[in-house]
Amino acid sequence: MAIIKTENLTYVYGEGTPFRKVAVDDVNLEIEEGEMVGVIGHTGSGKSTLIQHFNGLLQATSGKIFIDGEELTKDKGKLRDVRFKVGLVFQYPEYQLFEETCYKDIAFGPKNMGLSDEEIDKRIRETVKLVGLDEKLLDKSPFELSGGQKRRVAIAGVMAMNPKILILDEPASGLDPKGRDKILGLIKEYHQEKKNTVMLVSHSMEDVAKNASKILVMNKAKLFCYDDTEKVFHRADELTEMGLAVPQITRVFNRLKAMGVDINDDVYTVKYGTRLLLDILNKKQHPDL
């Protein structure tokens, strides 16, 4: 069963005003449980508007949304459950830290869910380990931490609610390469350990390629495609046309293929590209093997 399903989902900003804008246009989508989905699209393509529907922050102008088999309604009581089920981490989440200590900040979500103190404590310690923070930091004020640490506390606060679906909007933006790899690495680990559904919104094609198994592409308010990572990056020309890109490594292999080299063109990570080239080159050197 699909964990997220939309039927003809449409959202219009400023209906009835001169600034009317269709931000999400007739989107039909089914995302299976346990997927790691990369969400890409140019600025203003509608990707942020789309994901804000999944935990009821925005209500569709028309069309239907089903989360975990249940249709989203305007019923406030039900909406609360949806928010526990779908965790949303915004861009620069460290600006949303507010408690006196990291412990209290991470506890905020679980507490609102009505969990017992023991359960909350257990979850906090588990999540802190998962995001790679020292337990000693828990008693500190979040404002004493470095930028990268703050961001991890903010993400931990949502992860501790153990949502069935975790959505992160540009979790690595503004970080240096090592910081990026760290944050994305811990999200991947969380995904592998919990088997929850994770959606990762990003402008970095390289990051999406490294981490997601499926990619959802939004273009001018419409769903352009939702497919396996290699199949999406196969459509390099169309992606470039709509203001996106494919990873540098993918462009290299596509060009080699176009020049007549007999090689797979479904390469989107350096790791896979290296393995592929070494296989072919080694065979060439030792044809008898």
Binding site: G174, D176, G179, H203, L244, I249, R255, L278
Partner: protein, 285 residues
């Protein structure tokens, strides 16, 4: 010009006076660097390495605790020269939304010129020329908030080049942009350097952008640790990774092949060079 952009044994600390005793965080630890007129230099470094602090020293936002900083020939400590420095060393920041002040694109570009007391006729000429340079002339009567991120950032750059500075410092100007926005901004920066001779200092976390520069400076713990042409800098794959940075994907690929014993240069930093090298490799075997 002598001392175009130069830092000599510069030390700089941020002091938090809210704490008792005050907490001192020394970010620049005796840094030495010189940038010549007309160069296009990329500055790399992990978060907290001191690269933004250094950039702010060059237009006298930060004054060094020790050592000297020179910009367009003047020592930044010389208060009488601050206006000359600020007009000639423009700065562009990460978030375009924080840099636009007017409600119409051309008014925004004219903002600094009005403050400088430039004649209206001359303002008109410079604003038009700046907008044409960044490719935003058709949008001169639009509202900035309706533009895309890349367009806004180009308007911010136009506001700077209208002042006709000799040098522009850009602090992660593409961090918040989508791939198309990044391509547009990069193209504009290169054009300013090549055609208008503007000196460019580009701080970035994107290695592929740094690969476009004439020279790459790597800052770590408040010191310059590597300073060379991009080919030589990125060929040091292990060292770059050890300081929390990365190399372009094509460089990493060639480095891996070289490690496995194949005859590939590790000084490959562009897509074209990589395609050519790999094609040769296949041809030979």
């Amino acid at each position: 010009m002598q001392n175009f952009l130069k830092a000599e044994r510069v030390r700089f600390s941020y002091v938090n006076n809210m704490e008792n005793p005050p907490v001192v965080n020394e970010v620049l630890k005796g840094i030495d660097i010189e940038i010549k007129k007309g160069e296009f230099v990329a500055v790399l470094g992990h978060n907290g390495s001191g690269k933004s602090t250094l950039a702010k020293c060059f237009n006298a936002i930060n004054l060094p605790d020790e050592g000297d900083v020179y910009a367009v020939g003047f020592n930044t400590k010389d208060e009488d020269k601050i206006l000359d420095i600020r007009q000639n060393v423009g700065m562009v920041f990460q978030n375009p939304d924080n840099q636009l002040v007017a409600t119409i694109v051309e008014e925004d570009v004219a903002f600094a010129l009005e403050n400088m007391g430039v004649e209206p006729k001359e303002i008109r000429r410079r604003v038009d020329e700046a907008l044409k340079t960044v490719g935003m002339y058709e949008y001169r009567e639009h509202a900035p908030h309706k533009l895309s991120g890349g367009q806004k950032q180009r308007v911010a750059i136009a506001g700077i080049i209208a002042m006709e500075p000799e040098c522009i410092l850009l602090d992660e100007p593409t961090a918040m942009l989508d791939p198309k926005g990044r391509r547009e901004v990069l193209k504009t920066i290169r054009k300013l350097n090549r055609e208008n001779g503007v000196t460019i200092v580009l701080i970035t976390h994107y290695m592929e952008e740094a690969a476009l520069a004439d020279r790459v400076v790597v800052v770590d713990k408040g010191q310059v640790i590597i300073d060379d042409v991009p080919e030589k800098v990125f060929s040091q794959v292990e060292k770059m990774k050890s300081v929390g940075l990365d190399v372009p994907q094509v460089t990493e690929l060639c480095w891996e092949l070289k490690k496995a014993g194949f005859d590939v240069s590790t000084e490959i930093i562009s897509e074209d060079e990589c395609v050519e090298a790999l094609y040769k490799l296949f041809d030979k075997g």
